[in-house]
């Protein structure tokens, strides 16, 4: 058999800039290299030596599509360092904010990046003319996600009002009522989304992997414990001992492994670990996932479940919301270390800060979901390739891209240097 090399110079319909190099020779996969060519932004360097109150809005700019969760995780890490306990109300509003960010991100991914692959269109804009209803639904859900984030956080991306110790303003009552009305109407859309994505023909491909997710109080409100196989295994302030980041030649992003093994985080990992927290009406869909547990394409369906579950949760929360004005919790900076972890749309996100006594950051480590998934993506591409060796290049490329997109990688997020030695 002829040697085949595939060079995808610029993987489209993912967030950020990545390329893939594949070499097949004599019926064997010789090389698979996922390269990230996002310009280096040295985020952990940028975040160093900054006053604590600058960290949330600088780290928000790591990524435009997950700016909400970077802000929230940064706030958690700062509050953890300075022993600040956010009020119950603040926690609830933050949960809503995170669900809004998740709906934004998942909708964009499912309809604009994934669906064209399965319906045979080169892109969503081309798909729009024949799948008018689906496309309009996507736009409505996207608008809803924006509305949640804007109502609670002040802007569609890079939220303004979520700060250390609380919110600088509460959501406007009128806007909140309008949002509730729109959420109720959106249930139909999220339900149809779920039906649509449960009926897609996903490639049959299974590869064992470990799934990690934060444990939840409710599905969208997480604790500081990491779960695997549905059981607690690691408290977050210990994550660095278990997960190792390493730097890959040729790429500007970090890759993370546990021990020497790759693992997966994200919607699928959350569903697998926290399925008991999913509402009854969605349980039938969980069966599809249970029967295809190690199929990474199931991440797509898991995201659709989360949109529906998220809309429902927002309705429940807002219906019972009794807002009262609260002063921001006072901050007393001190020399301390703080950890924050959240479930970002793409999986567990960690922020770790070390502060001096004036509240300036002396060390910053951020581990993003995509950093954690990259090695698993590469391993799965390798495994998938061996079943595709006889196919033509075009088919192989499409199938690999589908696999990469299933993980919903966010390359901007993965692109920052791990700071090892600073003096």
């Amino acid at each position: 058999m002829m040697a085949k090399t595939i060079d995808i110079n610029y993987i489209t319909k993912i967030e950020g800039h990545a390329k893939l190099y594949v070499k097949i020779d004599k019926g064997k996969v010789k090389k698979v290299a996922l390269d990230i060519f996002e310009g280096s932004r040295f985020f952990e360097g940028i975040l160093k030596d900054k006053k604590y109150n600058d960290l949330p809005n600088i780290s928000s700019r790591i990524c435009g599509v997950c700016s909400v969760v970077h802000t929230l995780t940064s706030l958690k890490a700062i509050e953890n360092a300075f022993n600040i306990k956010a009020s119950k109300q603040t926690e609830i509003l933050r949960e809503l904010l995170n669900i809004g960010g998740t709906i934004q991100s998942h909708t964009l991914h499912l309809y604009f990046m994934v669906l064209p692959d399965y319906l045979g269109y080169p892109n969503a804009l081309k798909m729009a003319s024949e799948y008018k209803e689906e496309f309009k639904r996507a736009l409505r859900l996207k608008k809803l996600g924006n509305e949640i984030v804007r109502t609670i956080g002040g802007r569609d991306i890079h939220p303004i009002v979520a700060v250390v110790g609380g919110f600088t303003r509460l959501p406007d009552k009128k806007q909140l009522n309008l949002l509730l009305k729109n959420l109720r109407a959106a249930k139909k859309d999220s339900n149809k989304t779920l039906k649509l994505f449960s009926k897609l023909e996903y490639p049959k491909f299974e590869k064992f992997k470990e799934y990690f997710a934060l444990e939840g109080d409710s599905y969208f409100s997480t604790t500081d414990q990491i779960a695997c196989k549905g059981k607690t295994c690691i408290p977050i302030n210990n994550y660095e001992k278990h997960f190792r980041e390493y730097f890959k030649q040729g790429s500007t992003a970090e890759f993370a492994v546990k021990g020497q093994k790759s693992y997966m985080v994200g919607a699928l990992a959350r569903i697998v670990n926290n399925r008991k927290l999913i509402s009854k009406e969605n349980q039938p869909y969980l069966n599809i996932i249970r029967n295809n547990m190690y199929n990474p394409y199931m991440n797509v369906l898991a995201q659709a479940i989360e949109i529906h579950e998220g809309v429902k949760r927002c309705i429940d929360v807002i219906e019972n919301l009794k807002l009262k004005e609260e002063a921001l919790v006072e901050v007393k900076p001190k020399k301390a270390v703080g950890f924050g972890a959240s479930e970002a749309p793409r999986g567990i996100l960690f922020h770790k800060y070390e502060f001096d006594k004036k509240g300036f950051s002396k060390f910053v480590n951020i581990t993003t979901p995509t950093t954690q998934n990259l090695q698993n993506i590469e391993d799965n591409i390798r495994a998938l390739l061996s079943s595709l060796l006889d196919e033509d290049k075009k088919t192989i490329q499409l199938e690999i891209e589908k696999l990469i997109r299933a993980y919903d990688p966010c390359i901007s997020c993965a692109t920052h240097f791990l700071e090892i030695v600073w003096d």
């Binding site: 950020g16 700019r61 729009a128 600088t168």
Partner: protein, 244 residues
């Protein structure tokens, strides 16, 4: 019928891609798309044709030699170039890395290739002519819509003059400066309708200093309150390197 569609490309250098997302997040996104013949948008499209553009929207800071080359190609192929957002306009958040000493950067030994290719993080205007600067982190939706609506009629909208204070609802008795809080509205380019200030958050200068800004007197004011000098300079240089 109607107005001719404009050939458009969306390009992205080092940034969070939040300005592209702001375009995607437009409530009337499809209406906008109908006005444009989008030839390049890697976030959305598989076949990204490299053709000539009536207008190229470029987001992100330039941080590597490879990007300089690409940027020059984009410029050569485009009749009109818009710098989209703080990073493309004046370096944005990525430009803070310019304050990290080179010696320290060398400690990132893992990838010498990246280091060799790296250049100071700047706005795109450092290397090519820019026809319109759309400021902000992220850009303001309304400005983008206004820009496109006028551009298809052959017009380019005018930049607003003056500082954020001119549109601030707190101007006067509620001014943050009276409370001795670092607010940069007095030196920041207006055009955002003082969005953050309406949300009880002081201005962070994401749109960059307005031409008439007197930064050194601003810095002296904050110093006179006994604030930490490092903190003041960090806050002023968050979205654009400022010489002090």
């Amino acid at each position: 019928m109607g107005v001719k569609k404009i050939k458009t490309g969306f390009f992205s250098f080092s940034c969070c891609e939040g300005c592209q997302f702001t375009v995607l997040f437009l409530d009337n996104f499809m209406k906008m798309v109908d006005k444009m013949d989008i030839q390049y948008f890697h976030l959305l499209k598989e076949k990204n044709k490299n053709t000539r553009f009536d207008v190229a929207f470029v987001e992100g800071a330039v941080t590597s030699k490879v990007q300089i080359k690409k940027l020059k190609i984009i410029r050569a192929k485009s009749k009109f170039v818009v710098a989209l957002g703080a990073c493309a306009c004046h370096g944005g958040i990525p430009s803070m890395r310019n304050f990290i000493e080179n010696k320290k950067l060398e400690k990132y030994v893992y990838n010498q290739k990246t280091l060799k290719d790296a250049v100071k993080a700047t706005g795109i205007g450092e290397y090519v002519e820019v026809d319109y600067y759309m400021y902000g982190c992220p850009i303001i939706k309304k400005e983008f819509v206004d820009f496109v609506n006028n551009f298809i009629k052959g017009k380019v909208i005018k930049e607003l003059e003056g500082p954020v204070c001119d549109e601030c609802p707190r101007r006067g008795k509620n001014c943050y400066l009276i409370e001795k809080k670092i607010c940069l509205g007095a030196v920041s380019r207006r055009g955002c309708d003082a969005l953050c200030l309406r949300e009880n958050v002081p201005c962070v200068l994401c749109r960059g200093p307005c031409p008439e800004a007197n930064l050194s007197s601003e810095i002296n004011l904050f110093k006179s309150w006994g604030l930490d000098k490092k903190d003041i300079l960090n806050k002023i240089s968050k979205f654009k390197n400022v010489d002090t």
